[in-house]
Symmetry: C4
Subunit: 237 residues, 4 copies
């Protein structure tokens, strides 16, 4: 069947065009979503944005119905990852019409899920996903280790700085924010040690912490290199 091939594959000219149109609408939808958060928009801008929103949702809805119609196993598509994503991408618009306006902001956030539709169309992101899955274990170690180091850093700095800056290093939870900003080397500058002990502790924890975080990074690089051939041959040959 012709329409089935256009909708589901991208090995024909019409199929590629169909994909391109949907991709363009996703980006358009995200851009209008972003613009709609700007304060002090004029009434006419609001109406243009709303118009674009209506058009994209109608096309996404048609796409969703079309995909159900052409699918061999309709239920399987509906409950597949992309089937649910396609539904969530249009659902907020319809819910928004029928329910109370107070909850509008949380529902609008759901529109962001449209970005996940994009994953399907991007070969680069597919390849990325393969690489990601192959080093899942290393990433889990990285996250556990980081959390470990961050927690110990937060407790340490709390004991050094709490007396000198009781309003800034109020509790271990406030110190955790410092630990996150410091060990990721972001360093906003809203919270930093001022005591000699706290500064020496920061030096030690940065030396030890960055070393400790370098080890899983090395494990990760090592795993990536070993999986390199596997991961990269697929999309190229």
């Amino acid at each position: 069947m012709d329409i089935k091939r256009i909708v589901e594959d991208n090995d024909t000219k019409a199929g590629r065009l169909f994909d391109l149109v949907i991709q363009f609408l996703i980006v358009l939808s995200l851009v209008t979503f972003s613009i709609s958060t700007l304060p002090d928009l004029s009434e006419s801008t609001h109406q243009i944005l709303y118009g674009i929103e209506v058009v994209t949702v109608i096309i996404f809805s048609l796409e969703y119905i079309l995909r159900i119609l052409v699918a061999d196993q309709k239920l399987k598509y509906i409950f597949s990852f992309y089937g649910i994503v396609d539904l969530i991408a249009i659902l907020p618009f319809y819910i928004n019409r029928s329910v109370d306006l107070r909850s509008i902001r949380v529902i609008r956030l759901l529109r962001l899920f449209r970005i996940l539709k994009f994953v399907k169309y991007s070969k680069a992101l597919k390849r990325y996903r393969a690489a990601f899955l192959s080093i899942k274990e290393e990433l889990i170690i990285l996250i556990i280790t980081t959390s470990f180091v961050i927690y110990i850093s937060a407790v340490g700095i709390y004991y050094f700085e709490n007396d000198a800056q009781p309003e800034i290093f109020k509790s271990i939870f406030h110190s955790l924010w410092w630990a996150v900003a410091t060990l990721t080397t972001v360093g906003y500058g809203d919270i930093y040690p001022v005591t000699v002990g706290g500064k020496i502790f920061t030096y030690v924890i940065l030396m030890v912490g960055l070393c400790i975080l370098a080890v899983p990074a090395g494990l990760l690089a090592s795993a990536m290199l070993n999986n390199g051939g596997k991961t990269k041959d697929r999309p190229r040959r």
Copy 2:
């Protein structure tokens, strides 16, 4: 013996459950410890936190006694790394009861050692330790080199900035704090050069410093890759 196997191994269902319960209690203990540092807690919250503390310490104490009882060589366990960790995890609570309240804060800090109990239960962290040991030498080079670069940076910036900002770049020790924040790229923004000479020096030291630090990082990556098979085969096969 059955209990011995539950306590020391995790290859039975009961053994895994035992481990899981202890792990949950460690996390619970750390969470209540963190909450107890929050200022302006109500009296009832304090009592709930104290209750949880009493329960976890009792269970950890029972676990400690149980481990001594089932161990074949009791003294060997008591003076092993995990034996000492298990003791330190409960000791602060009992000492706190019998000594003067003034020293309470330092002793409370010892409770953090409970986090080390966690190491025993985490396979990921075990594997991490193996990787860490295999590149010990590279890490020592990294720390020596970093300290070297940081010290030279501190002396240099002191000579450039001391005249212009005598209150901020007060001494080499104050400059060391700048060097740590700059070369780790944290950059809090509480201390930075303002003279032209100091800024050019910062540029040079960042170029040279980050290059110099990239070399041990490369040595480390290289050592990790060579030890990759060894380090990774152990926990997998």
Copy 3:
């Protein structure tokens, strides 16, 4: 022909000297360009800078004419990459003389294109370009993924912080600036979350984001290592 060899190759002594003189003039030209942006320059400094500018442009113009004259296929050189760069490097000076002064600043910016002349003379940069081309695909993945993560971070932080700091996290576009500064770990400190939700979100997005960005970095390193021999043998043997 002798002049042809001096201008086009650098395997003779005179050819190397010719290259060195042009390279020196490019650096001189960039330095005077930079100095001319300093505020409060004296009239005499302006005249010295203008003098240097006139001399360098005349020499670059002579070089350009010479290159056309010695080229076997004159049109091919004129429309080649380096031919166009050589023209743009001198054009702003002549246009500046004949057109309205209002547009002077944009035209002055074109002078920066002289830096591209430098590429031709630098072996290191040539080698760099080869390495760059061999990992083009990985870099595109890196940029797409980064943009993806940055956009999602911006939307998330907007929902957490907009209520608490409506003047700072004004819209998703303002939040994008935060996401760029945070995920690249620059962290200027002009914009950062203050709510508990926003801080936890920052922690999560930094953990996930830096992991996600580590994967294409790994792909890139892996591709570089595989292309290592190819890329590096060329300039060495």
Copy 4:
């Protein structure tokens, strides 16, 4: 000869002790140097620091004379790298006694050269130097490319921000400081873009810049791995 072996080698017990004493004195000397920069030191502290300084300089002087005496080719040692370092380490003290006090601060800086004495005694740093030399070419590319990217960033941000913040982005030289702090991801927060154009430019330059800098880092890692065996076998076997 016995003394010759103690001074020049460290394969005997006495030789290792001799090295250890000198290393301790270097660290002591650097610590007292750092303390002497502290403001508001008491007179007695000054005298203690001066006493330590006199003792260390006398021992370093004796060491220097001893090394000349035991050397087979005396002139060769005197003009070798370590011979000059050993001289510079003691010279400032003697010069300081005989010349005008105004130049005291610059001469004191020369004392820092004592840190170079340390290089000789550290095996880790020797190994580091070998690795460093093997990737010299890659490091030069890295520094050239970085300077290139930093300069272009500075010119770009100058055109975007100069109108909005004429006092902060005063000239290309002031913008260079921004480019250094941004592209190294230090981000002090003393200078950052506020215009929409400047922020988008920062995003683009960070994406492109960090990618461009990742390439030489990859070249470097690749070179390190290829030289790995060579570099690492030397100190181990």
